[in-house]
Every structure is written in C-alpha cells, then in structure tokens.
Amino acid sequence: MAGRMRMRARMSGDVAEVKVLMQHPMETGQRKDSEGKPIPAHYIKEVMATLGDRTVMAAQWGAAISQNPYLSFRIKDAKKGDTVKVSWTDNKGETASTEAKIG
C-alpha cells in the first residue's frame, strides 16, 4: 500500500511549519519475505515541495528512510492562506501528492 498522505501546515512565528506523513513501504531490496524470497526494492527517490509556483524544497531520498516516512520542514516568506504542495516519486515511477493551506 502506498500513496496516502497527510499534511498539516501552520504559521509558527514568521515561518510556516509543514508536517507530512506519507504512506510508503520503503523496501530496501535487502529483505526477504516469510517464504525466503527477496522483496524487491521499492522506495521514494524524490520529494518536492512547492509554495504556489515556487519550489521550496527538492530532496533526494533513498532506501535508508523509514517505512511510512514523516517529514517536517519550515518555509520562509510564507503567509497564512498560501498553498503548500508536496509530492513524491518512487523508484517504480509511482507518484503521489497532496496540498494544504497554511493555517
């Protein structure tokens, strides 16, 4: 199961604090299942965050990130009511995104 996301964004002083929980198995490719067969690698490779049409974060991820990753970051020059969008792309080319208004 992959693809569900939950995001919160709110002003904290003069920066916007964004918290995103992403559902993803983040398989390293090193694990085996209960029958001993290797579980293929399946992990998020890229995470992008935009504020309006401005990219505020581009992150390259790998297999070392935990299952169901939880990401928190802060944005300067943001204000209440702005829309933050976060998306990811994994090594299988699957993608998901979500957006939230800064509260």
Partner: protein, 268 residues
C-alpha cells in the same frame, strides 16, 4: 585495599550508568513521539480498516456493518474500552479480535482457520486485515473511558480465571505474567515494564494498544502483544480470541478501569 575500593567505585559507576540509560531511552523515545505531535502513521491503517468494515466481502459478500461489538449491530464508537464482554448470541465472553473473527465467519463466511492463520503480520508483511480492523475500531473509541463490564457471572468468572493465569508459573523458564508485570518501575533490558496489577500501569497499557510499532512499520494489536509475551515465556502459542487471551485481557481491562482510550498508540 586501594584496588578493591576503586573496583567498587567502578561497579557503582556501572550501575548508575545502567539506570541513566534506562531513563535516557524513555526520554529519547518520548522526545521522538512528541515530534510526531498528533500524527501517527496508524491513521493510514485506520483508513484501511474503515474501508474493510464497510466493504461487502467474503463468500457471503456482505460488509461488517451488522457486526455487534457489544453496543448493538454496526456500532463502532466507544466499544473498545468495554471489551471483553459477555455476548448472549455465543453465550461466551469475547474480546475484540475474537468478536471480529466471529463476525467475519458468521456474517461474511470466511473460514476461521484462514483468518487465524494470517491474523498478525509476519516478517516482511505490510499489515493484515485484522490489524486494520482493530486499529479502526480502537480509533473510534478515542477519548472514551475504559469500563470493562463485570455484571454477568461469566464476566466475573473470566476476571478470576485471568487473575489466576496471570500469576500461574509455567514453561521451561517457570515464568508467569506476574514475573515481569507485578512490580512498578522495572524494566527488561531497556524497556520499561508496566505493573498490570495496578490501575496506573494497566491503564497506560490498555489504553495505548493497538499501536503503530515504528520498528516494524505495522499496527500491532493487544492479541499480538499477548501472544508474544507467551512466546517469550516459552509457553504454548496463545490462540487469538481464545479463552486464555480473553481472561487475561479481562483481568487487565478491569484493572485499567477509568483510563482514557488513546489508541492506536505509537510505540518504539
């Protein structure tokens, strides 16, 4: 003499360090948990459970919406803190997992053995239907009080049997549940052990399971926790929904009376 004095100092230092580590481990994890705030990856599993509850499934192709968890058919809200309880239709005391198995068999036509076979996630699994359903039901009970009933004679008998089982020493290690869970402020390796004979420990435990286990990436249920306790004691495998599990849960649940449900929890 000077030598042995220094050795004493070394030993004492070691003991202090061990205590310090136990404290530090809890503190670090509390800090980690507070970073999550109100977020918990269990929410995704709760969503899956909600879908499983309402979907028409199984050989009978019906949903679980007619399943009676103790507050009437289809009522999911605030049932968790009042289980296990006596059910008239089966003339027995059942816990949540046992009741869900019952509904999946009776309403949806699934085979009991098959449900039990795949009830908890194994290595490399990404969650089971039972884990999702339990997470969903527990989530719908958030904030409600633990009030496990003791009005029916069968419920009283289950508590008594649970208490007896809790103190019953068995297996190659001659262990009982009480060996680990009858004293406060004890730990095993660096894990704090709850005292389940007192309200404080029983509440802290009863109200925070099921829980998302960060180290395993799945929601674990109280039935799984108990089965693992039995495994660690080298006892025969505890069967989900069995009398032994129900009785032990009844003992813990009654001891936890008045606690406020806060599950799915977040554990190491």
């Amino acid at each position: 003499m000077a030598m042995s004095g220094r050795m004493m100092g070394g030993l004492l230092g070691g003991a202090l360090l061990a205590v310090g580590l136990a404290q530090a481990q809890d503190d670090t994890f509390d800090e980690y948990r507070s970073m999550f705030g109100d977020d918990n990856p269990a929410i995704f599993i709760v969503d899956e459970g909600s879908e499983l509850w309402t979907q028409a499934r199984g050989p009978e192709n019906v949903s679980l919406e007619q399943c009676d968890l103790g507050q009437g058919p289809g009522v999911v809200e605030n049932v968790y803190g009042q289980l296990p309880r006596y059910f008239e239709d089966t003339d027995s005391v059942m816990d949540l997992e046992g009741r869900l198995i019952h509904c999946m068999v009776e309403l949806q036509g699934f085979k009991r053995e098959e449900i039990i076979e795949g009830i908890y996630s194994g290595a490399g699994d990404n969650g089971t239907e039972m884990e999702a359903l339990v997470a969903y039901v527990a989530d719908a009970s958030q904030g409600s009080k633990v009030a496990v009933p003791q009005s029916h004679p069968e419920e009283k008998a289950a508590y008594k049997a649970g208490e007896a089982l809790f103190y019953h020493r068995a297996g190659p290690y001659d262990f009982s549940c009480a060996t680990c869970h009858r004293q406060s402020d004890k730990r095993i390796r660096l894990q704090s052990l709850p005292n389940l004979t007192e309200a404080e420990g029983a509440r802290a435990t009863y109200t925070t399971w099921p829980a998302y286990r960060i180290s395993q990436g799945v929601v674990r249920t109280m039935g799984w926790r108990m089965r693992n306790c039995a495994r660690q004691q080298r006892l025969p495998e505890l069967q989900p929904g069995s009398e032994a599990v129900v009785d032990l849960l009844m003992y813990m649940g009654v001891n936890a009376e008045g606690g406020s449900m806060d599950a799915p929890g977040l554990k190491r």
